[in-house]
């Protein structure tokens, strides 16, 4: 802590060449006279040095502005700092991204509602997501699964992304704080920190996470980009990647990539604190609580205690008939 204040004149100016600084002088005075002379000479030298030093301090003082600022330090102390001593803290673009990325967006609790009655497996959400996050076709932050809950119930398509759990098992097991939960409810992965142990993949009951087993798709063109933890681009070899609720778009006040890409109004996205979610296709904003209440909204595997932030509306009164695509049969999960 640096305090420069006018209240205290330079200490050295107040000093007189007395016994306080030179106890040897009082000793000398009790001795023979010639010692007294030597003592005086010594005092003279010290006084001269003190004068030189105070001159130096005076010169140094002239360079200060004389205007002090009172600041609060990180540990909560008030300090006074000369305004000339103030320097703007230089943060690299990466540090800035990392800081915002860890902080989240204050006051928000992001939430997603997926209406299964409207999904016909168009897979545009997947394409938009993979394009935004520079993923290969087999790498899914968002995947649509063909589900059938029991042999007699009807099959349906279920978009599945990270559930951004409020009690995320992946975050609990991460040994290095690479994956974390933000104040706005989003679970992110920092691939500058990730050591690639894949414990989070083992812990996630929703199979929401992917790993960069080989060099990521756009490693070469992306190599000069500053890493943005809210987009997880550039993707990094040997680290985890996952759905981010498009945290970069949320910061700009926009809806996530998947939500706006859907042609069939499957997705609602919004803020739980405002109790409002907006449909990505129709841009219609509705009450979250009413939407969930009226349509029997539910969460995936709530019995695991993960407290997901993604809600599903059941596949009733479907807009489209179920069509299995590709060779994949509906899995009875």
């Amino acid at each position: 802590m640096l305090i420069i204040s006018d209240k205290y004149p330079i200490m050295e100016e107040n000093l007189s060449p007395d016994q306080r600084d030179h106890p040897e002088k009082s000793k000398a005075s009790t001795r023979r006279d010639f010692l007294k002379n030597i003592g005086l000479a010594g005092v003279g030298t010290v006084a001269g040095a003190a004068a030189l030093y105070s001159g130096h301090i005076f010169e140094a003082k002239k360079e200060s502005s004389g205007q002090n600022k009172i600041l609060l330090t990180q540990d909560g102390k008030l300090v006074e700092v000369d305004s000339l001593e103030l320097k703007a803290l230089e943060k690299s673009p990466l540090d800035q991204n990392q800081y915002h990325g860890r902080e989240g967006i204050p006051g928000k609790r992001w939430v997603m509602v997926t209406d299964l009655s409207r999904c016909r497996n168009a897979r545009r959400c997947i394409a938009a997501c993979q394009e935004a996050h520079h993923l290969r076709p087999e790498q899914y932050h968002m995947n649509t699964l063909q589900m059938q809950d029991s042999p007699n119930t009807a099959p349906y398509h279920m978009p599945k992304n990270c559930q951004h759990c409020d009690n995320p098992p992946c975050v609990s097991v991460c040994p290095v704080d690479a994956t974390y939960k933000r104040q706005d409810g989003v679970v992110l992965i920092d691939n500058v920190r990730c050591i690639g142990c894949r414990f989070c993949m083992a812990a996630c009951p929703y199979s929401a996470r992917i790993f960069q087993w080989i060099t990521p798709k756009y490693a070469e063109p992306d190599k000069d980009l500053t890493y943005n933890v809210e987009l997880n681009v550039p993707q990094k070899l040997g680290t985890i990647s996952k759905c981010l609720f498009s945290a970069d778009r949320l910061r700009e006040g926009k809806l996530p990539y998947c939500v706006t890409a859907c042609p069939n109004s499957v997705y609602y996205f919004g803020d739980e604190n405002e109790d409002a979610v907006t449909n990505g296709t129709t841009k219609e904003t509705v009450r979250l609580s009413k939407l969930l209440r009226d349509n029997g909204g539910y969460q995936l595997m709530p019995e695991l205690g993960t407290k997901p932030r993604v809600y599903y509306l059941p596949p009733k009164n479907r807009l489209f008939p179920f069509e299995a695509t590709g060779e994949t049969k509906p899995a009875i999960s």
Binding site: E138, Q139, Y140, N143, T144, L145, Q146, M147, K160, P169, S172, V173, C174, P175, V176, D177, R193, C194, I195, G196, C197, R198, F199, M201, A202, A203, P205, Y206, S207, R209, I210, F211, Q212, W213, I214, T215, L237, G238, T239, I240, L300, M301, L304, G326, T328, A331, S333
Partner: protein, 435 residues
């Protein structure tokens, strides 16, 4: 028996002969091949292995569990049997401790081979979060390794003091090393007191440390909610399984040392038959935990458990499962109940079967569970759905075995395999000159 004879018997193998050079040469060349495979993985990424997004922990992790398991035997032999006063274990203790040190040291390296970014290993210490069982695992494995190393070293001090003063022919560079390691031990009562007290403290500390390393290793799986891992008995299930693997390792090591270093008079049939009894005991405990682990979920057949158990007991992993359970656990126990199967050669053959089964048991604990996540695996290439190890992965998995063999070979080649000082005392040789 005279001291000279004892020293000769226990140290005559300490010389660099052709057999040793050929064996070490073979190990080092094999290690180089495996390290080359690892260099490919470092360059290209973990994608050179068969692991993918669904089965993301493969052979490397199974191997890690196996190595941690095998290292636990040091605690069982020296700690448990030693502390309850079993006298016959004296010639086996150093073998068990050597195995413990070698396997614990290498286990740490095995886990690095499974990291996507091994160069960030230090992050575990820099940014470590104590919520993560990985932190607990790192802590206890290091602790156990340090305790085991000390326990290997302390009884060696007196041995070194005896040997460096003896007339036994040794490689010339080795004598000053022994002198250094003997720490000026001269069999004074206060020295003996310090050593025996330290050993006793170490033995007591070793038991919780060993229980911790394997319990925490089992928790890497048991803290998840996946079918097949979501089990409350995983800790004791792993620990008892570890004793099975470790006892088998010790029996195999005893057989080779007895034969190659001509220790028939010290590692006698009695030791093999007793180790056989230990193996029967721990196998029965393990069998008991196996019953619990499979019958209880099998009775209820909760949805995810049902899929998992079906594949394991009657589906695609069934052959492996039953060969392991019957050939590696049930039959060995039955055979070893008979005295003649506890003779050195038959019991070593049984131990080899048990050890191989123990490795594959870790494989079917780690891998099949991940092939049945809660949500279906869809729209991904075939190699994401079923796990198949690659050649590079197999080579990288072999490397730790070679490393363990190198460590055990070096320790056993340059130090007496059987504790010299303790054996002398037990054989009634009281007059040992230390001046």
């Amino acid at each position: 028996m005279t001291l000279e004879k004892l020293i000769l018997d226990l140290t005559h193998h300490i010389r660099i002969n052709k057999g040793f050079l050929v064996w070490m040469g073979f190990l080092l060349v094999s290690l180089m091949v495996c390290l080359y495979a690892y260099s490919i993985q470092l360059r290209i990424g973990l994608g050179v292995a068969g692991i993918r997004d669904y089965v993301s922990w493969g052979m490397y992790l199974a191997n890690f569990v196996f190595f941690v398991a095998s290292s636990l035997i040091g605690m069982l032999i020296s700690g448990v049997l030693g502390l309850i006063g079993m006298k016959w274990i004296t010639p086996v203790t150093r073998i068990a401790e050597t195995i413990a040190v070698a396997f614990a040291a290498v286990a740490g390296l095995v886990i690095v081979s499974d990291m996507g970014r091994p160069e960030r290993l230090a992050y575990v210490f820099l940014y470590g979060r104590f919520q993560s069982p990985i932190l607990w695992d790192v802590t206890v494995v290091i602790t156990y390794f340090v305790l085991s190393s000390l326990l290997l070293f302390l009884p060696l001090i007196a041995d070194m003091a005896i040997i460096h003063r003896s007339k036994q022919a040794l490689p010339s560079w080795l004598r000053p090393v022994y002198k250094l390691l003997s720490l000026n031990f001269t069999d004074r009562p206060e020295q003996n007191k310090i050593i025996s007290r330290s050993i006793r403290i170490l033995l007591i500390l070793l038991i919780p440390a060993a229980l911790s390393i394997h319990t925490v290793t089992s928790w890497l799986f048991a803290v998840t909610s996946r079918a097949g891992w979501d089990s409350t008995i995983f800790g004791p299930y792993f620990v008892s399984g570890a004793f099975v693997a470790g006892s088998a390792t010790v029996i195999i090591a005893m057989f080779f040392f007895r034969k190659n270093y001509k220790l028939q008079d010290y590692l006698t049939d009695l030791h093999f038959t007793n180790m056989g009894k230990v193996l029967v005991l721990v196998s029965l405990v393990y069998l008991y935990f196996n019953l619990n682990e499979f019958i209880v979920p099998g009775y209820k057949l909760k949805r995810a458990d049902a899929v998992h158990l079906h594949d394991l007991l009657a589906g695609k992993d069934a052959l492996l499962f039953w060969v392991i359970q019957i050939g590696g656990l049930l039959l060995p126990v039955l055979f070893m109940l008979f005295r003649r199967f506890r003779k050195p050669l038959p019991i070593t053959i049984i131990a080899v079967a048990v050890l191989i089964a123990a490795w594959f048991k870790r494989y079917i604990i780690v891998i099949p569970t991940q092939e049945h996540p809660f949500l279906p695996i869809q729209h991904v290439p075939q190699n994401f759905i079923t796990y198949a190890p690659t050649l590079i992965e197999i080579l990288i998995t072999l490397a730790p075995f070679i490393l363990v063999l190198i460590i055990i070979t070096l320790i056993s080649k340059f130090f007496p395999v059987i504790p010299l000082f303790e054996t002398a005392k037990e054989k009634g040789i009281e007059k040992i000159e230390f001046e």
